[in-house]
């Protein structure tokens, strides 16, 4: 009974994390379409929400990686998974509050690794999986997206460079309805699956699911719904602030950047690599910018990505370990997770209220 209560809290926390992931990432997914006027903000956000939902259904490789290749499913408990989620949420919240660069995906994996180390030691962490399927792809993917964005924009300028700009811009704007949709689809595929993986890990840890049972359909549907609702909710905040946050680019650059981001995220999802979609999309945008004019690129964004690489995993792991320690103060039953979840909810509400009084939050990455 106690472990079932913890399991319910883990599922609710994971879905809340998924919602905030969609909320936070709406800007990355729709900004390019809005900035080139390919779509109105209202349509871009609704379109992205629907395709994030659909995207969550098209693959389960990333969910399998998170559920099976990060920690030993047989060695963890729902409380450990819960502490990992709290560690990730805490780190995301701190980086959001102070405007530090971060990655929700790396925070999630770091949090689970940290809480597992605190609970059962390093033996239960599958370091080969963490390095080979998370860390290395995390470094490679934004670089590939940069290269694809740069090559794509160079090729497109070479092909249409001597044509009249009006029809060319209209053509690429029309094309952006497809590449923007593919980017939203790719985002839903990779990011929603991380939540599916964590919930599946908790179900296996609780003994509700056998180790090789795969991801239950209700987990897929609930994760898809949470990320789509988050995307839709996050969009309205973007509509209000987009005037100051979106980088100006032409329609060909927008098309190339979105195509690069979608291609890298979809191919990585196919091979089961859980990526930071924010970093990949940033890589594609920077590549499309550098292909036109190197000095036009905000290289500070690249610096932010490097800082996020270095900080997020160890910091979220530390918070995950601390969350497990606090949870265990209340014993091994459901009391610890209930108290920590209540405290986290109060803390989140307080920080949101303080930020709301101070003005719009600084984007965290």
């Amino acid at each position: 009974m106690g472990s079932d209560v913890v399991l319910v809290i883990v599922v609710a926390t994971a879905l809340a994390f998924d919602f905030t992931n969609g909320f936070h990432d709406t800007a990355n997914v729709v900004a390019t379409s809005i900035s080139t006027r390919a779509m109105s903000p209202r349509i871009a956000v609704g379109y992205a929400a629907i395709l994030n939902f659909v995207g969550a259904f098209i693959s389960l490789e990333v969910a399998a990686t998170v559920a099976e290749d990060v920690v030993e499913a047989g060695a963890v408990t729902p409380t450990i998974v819960f502490a990992g989620l709290i560690g990730a949420i805490a780190w995301n919240l701190i980086t959001w509050y102070y405007g530090l660069p971060s990655s929700s995906s790396h925070a999630l994996i770091g949090g689970v690794v940290g809480s597992t180390i605190a609970a059962v030691g390093t033996g239960a962490v599958l370091f080969d999986g963490v390095v080979g399927e998370v860390l290395i792809p995390a470094v490679v993917a934004p670089i590939v997206a940069f290269a694809v964005g740069a090559l794509a924009i160079l090729a497109s300028y070479r092909i249409v460079g001597r044509q009249r700009p009006g029809p060319v811009s209209r053509g690429y704007r029309l094309g952006q309805t497809v590449t923007g949709g593919l980017l939203a689809l790719a985002h839903g595929t990779n990011d929603a699956q991380k939540t599916m993986g964590v919930i599946t890990l908790a179900l296996v840890a609780n003994g509700t699911l056998s180790e090789n049972a795969g991801v239950p359909t209700w987990v897929v549907v609930s994760a898809a719904t949470a990320i789509a609702l988050g995307t839709y909710s996050g969009g309205w905040r973007i509509i209000r602030t987009m005037g100051t946050r979106i980088i100006k680019m032409d329609a060909a650059q927008g098309f190339s950047a979105q195509g690069a981001g979608a291609a890298v995220i979809l191919s990585s999802s196919h091979f089961g690599f859980p990526l930071s979609t924010t970093q990949v999309i940033s890589g594609g945008v920077m590549g499309a910018g550098a292909g036109k004019r190197v000095s036009a690129v905000r290289w500070g964004v690249a610096g932010n990505i490097v800082v996020a690489w270095l900080l997020t995993l160890p910091a979220a792991a530390g918070f995950g370990a601390a969350a497990y320690g606090v949870t265990r103060v209340f014993g091994t039953g459901a009391v610890g997770p209930v108290v920590v979840a209540a405290a986290a909810t109060i803390l989140i509400a307080t920080l949101f209220a303080r930020r709301a009084r101070q003005g719009a939050p600084v984007p965290a990455g």
Partner: protein, 81 residues
């Protein structure tokens, strides 16, 4: 370094990068040719050059078909996971 090579599934990583480059750059090139074809078609028609207009229209249609085929293939591969 050798240990890293055994941990990293370099074949999957290389395939990911190769597929991303081919798909990302390929679809942009194909779509750019479609735009080129449409723009040339309009110019040729205005100039009263039906042969050139036909060739440009054919290029646009072929390029758009290539784009659609590439995107459909990518989604089918994803769904087959």
């Amino acid at each position: 370094m050798a240990m890293l090579a055994t941990i990293v599934d370099s074949k999957a990583l290389l395939e990911t990068a190769a597929v991303a480059v081919v798909a990302g750059v390929g679809i942009t090139i194909a779509f750019s040719f479609a735009i080129y074809g449409v723009a040339r078609f309009a110019d040729a028609r205005r100039a009263g050059a039906p042969l050139a207009a036909g060739a440009a229209a054919a290029l646009a249609v072929l390029a758009l078909a290539a784009c659609a085929a590439g995107i459909t293939a990518a989604i089918l591969v994803m769904i087959s996971d």
